[in-house]
């Protein structure tokens, strides 16, 4: 089982002052798949995400990653096990160049992060790899641009490149397309498709058409609970999903 599913939750619950943002969620993410978490606004998708990456403490329940219980771990340690997340609003280091952004991630595994007595030119050995990652996400010409000056869509791409630099086993993407125009959406979708060959991906996404094309399996959340799970084609036939997602009064 542990081999088949890279991430599992049991009875995952988060209560905020009497309000259940996430309630009794059991999730199983298959190794190597693209798993999407969808649901209307306020369904608890992002809360769920924060629970998985330990940025929030669950009120109840258990999280297993690669068969190991990570419920009580610190967020940095979860990341070190290869479970890396992105954020809903773009999370880059604004006053560092794109190359430096990626290098910070490379540095963590490969080198000398506590070395305060060495010149940072030792980091130059990561430049090739960083440039490669930037090329992968189509940011070749932005290497020396401070992140703050990049357009929004490029920042999202940079964020993915930074995440890839950690060479994670599993990536959690929180609305990677939020706030993007069409052109960008297609690019990022293609990128996700490409990297999914190597990594397991769990993504929260609002854009159903993106989800439909990309994901192997979809979990629908409403009001903090799992409503349904399956492939897109199955879900579109599910009346409950239509009603929850598209709203009451659906013809």
């Amino acid at each position: 089982m542990a081999d088949e599913f890279i991430l599992e939750t049991e009875g995952l619950t988060k209560e905020f002052a009497g309000f259940f943002a996430v309630r009794d969620v059991a999730l199983k993410v298959r190794r190597g798949s693209i798993h999407a978490l969808i649901g209307p606004n306020g369904a608890g998708k992002t809360t769920c995400f924060n629970l998985l990456t330990k940025f929030l403490k669950p009120s109840a329940g258990k999280i297993l990653y690669k068969g190991q219980d990570i419920t009580a771990m610190a967020p940095a340690d979860v990341a070190r096990m290869g479970l890396v997340r992105s954020f809903q609003i773009s999370a880059v280091f604004p006053h560092m160049t794109a190359l430096e952004n990626v290098r910070v991630a490379l540095q963590r595994q490969h080198g000398s992060s506590f070395d305060f007595w060495r010149s940072k030119s030792v980091l130059n050995r990561f430049n090739d790899r960083a440039q490669e990652l930037l090329n992968d996400v189509g940011l070749s010409e932005f290497a020396n641009t401070p992140a703050v000056e990049m357009p929004y869509g490029r920042k999202r791409a940079l964020e993915i490149a930074t995440t890839l630099a950690l060479d994670p086993e599993m990536m959690l993407l929180d609305e990677p397309m939020a706030g993007m125009g069409h052109e960008d959406i297609d690019k990022i979708a293609a990128l996700i498709k490409r990297i999914s060959a190597k990594y397991t991906i769990l993504m929260v996404e609002h854009n159903l058409s993106v989800v439909a094309n990309l994901s192997d399996i979809i979990t629908v959340l409403t009001r903090g609970q799992v409503l349904a799970q399956g492939h897109y084609s199955e879900l579109t036939k599910d009346e409950r999903v239509k009603e929850a997602y598209l709203g009451a009064g659906h013809a």
């Binding site: 340690d77 990341a79 070190r80 954020f87 999370a91 305060f116 060495r118 940072k120 703050v148 000056e149």
Partner: protein, 322 residues
Amino acid sequence: MTALTDDTLPVTPRAIRDEMIVFVVMALLLAAVPFSGIYPFFVMQALCFALLACAFNLLIGYGGLLSFGHAMFLGTAGYCSAHALKVWALPPELGILVGVAGAFVLSIITGYISIRRQGIYFSMITLALSQLLYFVYLQAPFTHGEDGIQGIPQGRMFGVFDLTKPTVLYYVVLVGFLAGFLLIYRIINSPFGEVLKSIRENEQRAISLGYRTDHYKFLAFVLSGTLAGFAGSLKVFVAQNASLTDVHWSMSGEVVLMTLVGGLGTIFGPVVGAFAIIAMQQYLAGFGQWVTVIQGSIFVICVLTFRRGVIGEIAHYLRRSL
């Protein structure tokens, strides 16, 4: 929480060559002081405070942590060095080592306690810790309380340099300052400095990349405290005494002021700020407590209109890092 210096940072990448040119000019100017007729004790004292401010700046400008208790490192190192020189009669180089070691140990302890909280809580905790230490030093026998440790022998550095000669002392202090300054510069431009910067820019993201950010902040705190201690040890040779003034919270406030005036998170700002404030105290001394009022006004003006500080504004204008 947004980083304190977000709006003060120049966005251009570091221009290391420019910075080294400025550094060389600064070093040459300082080296020429004994030939200029400027009173060397004034410059020596300013150099010690400049180093202290640079160390403080390492923590706030690059770690985003406002310590309101940095005087405790200055004072602790001063007392340790003074005691080592006067009572144990150690040579100057070992005296400095004892002082720096004292500040190092203190920064480990206080860092462990304070680093768990951020923002204003961190500031208040460092302030309270330094006040705690102030009262301890007030009562501890070896500090001689209100009287302080007086008449500290300067001795011969490495058995060669006679520190009782003002010119020799001046160059020793200058070399100490430049060494400390370069070390801080190196820390900022090291692999560690890179991580520190990323934490200040976006701590959540740094965590999600697997950085245990508290460890980095802690190391920054210890480095900053230890270097502040080095400044304190040097100051012992200049002032030939160690007193409660150096541990009092108003000293911590002065360090903040120097750095703020010069420019938080700039390389040369704290040096300029330290010289400006020390010179101001020197020349306005006749106005008695109005000096306090003027210092307070500078705080207010800086915070309201001039948040980048002198060097920060210049750097912003030139779109260069300085």
